[in-house]
Symmetry: C2
Subunit: 141 residues, 2 copies
């Protein structure tokens, strides 16, 4: 994998412009790719692990929640989107120092409700799969 030497971030990923919780738990990175819109990535750091030096399950589900909604960007939801339901299956652990990526695709839509299927990968290994339902939010309906 090609990495940018400065911070060992895989080529193509750039720091995202995140606020609040997404800024706090980062640094999170993103790159554009079809059909996902945006693939998000981060490297498991000290603040992300549990007592076993594996990425904490809470960080993995938070990362999934943040990343799997990205295909909704550009659809006119100026208020973003709110999570309605999130289901996550943990397949394998991730360890301190691992680079993780997450992406999703839209499975269905009912008005402003979107159902997506997502995954989190460590290289070619899927460490989490799941589904999410998000509701698009318009600040001026």
């Amino acid at each position: 994998m090609t990495t940018d030497s400065a911070n060992d971030t895989p080529h193509g990923f750039a720091p995202g412009a995140y606020v609040g919780f997404e800024d706090f738990v980062g640094p999170l990175y993103a790159r554009t790719a079809q059909p996902h819109g945006t693939i998000m990535g981060f490297r498991v750091a000290r603040e992300h692990v549990n007592g076993r030096n594996s990425c904490h399950g809470g960080m993995l589900v938070a990362f999934a929640d943040m990343a799997w909604g990205k295909p909704l960007a550009g659809r006119g939801y100026d208020g973003g989107w709110a999570t309605v339901r999130l289901t996550t299956d943990f397949l394998a652990p991730a360890d301190l120092g691992d680079w993780l990526e997450a992406s999703s695709v839209i499975l269905g839509r009912d008005g402003d409700l979107f159902t997506l299927q997502g995954e989190v990968r460590k290289g070619d290994v899927r460490i989490m799969v799941g589904t999410a339902v998000y509701k698009g939010v318009r600040s001026r309906p």
Copy 2:
């Protein structure tokens, strides 16, 4: 609700001894109660919110993942427990400054696999419900 004036933490909750991600996203608090073992709590701060000043869904699912496993404490799992599956339904938003509590009960057990049902509350209002499957980890089998 009775609160401790110093930090506006509801009576009975004390800071927990957390490491890694659980320390990083806190401060998290805990109090002992039956049948849950431990009820966890935290106050939604700037670093927990999204662009709408509501608690980020990622923080809510992370909090659920951290809190819902607590009934497994004291069962001899010196390596803690690993999340296998987490399902969360978001019922209502939580806002900046809200005090949130999470608890769970064990629904079933198959060896070291435990299925729990949990909730996150804002006062008397349930803002999230869900189920979790955790696997107890022994560092010396």
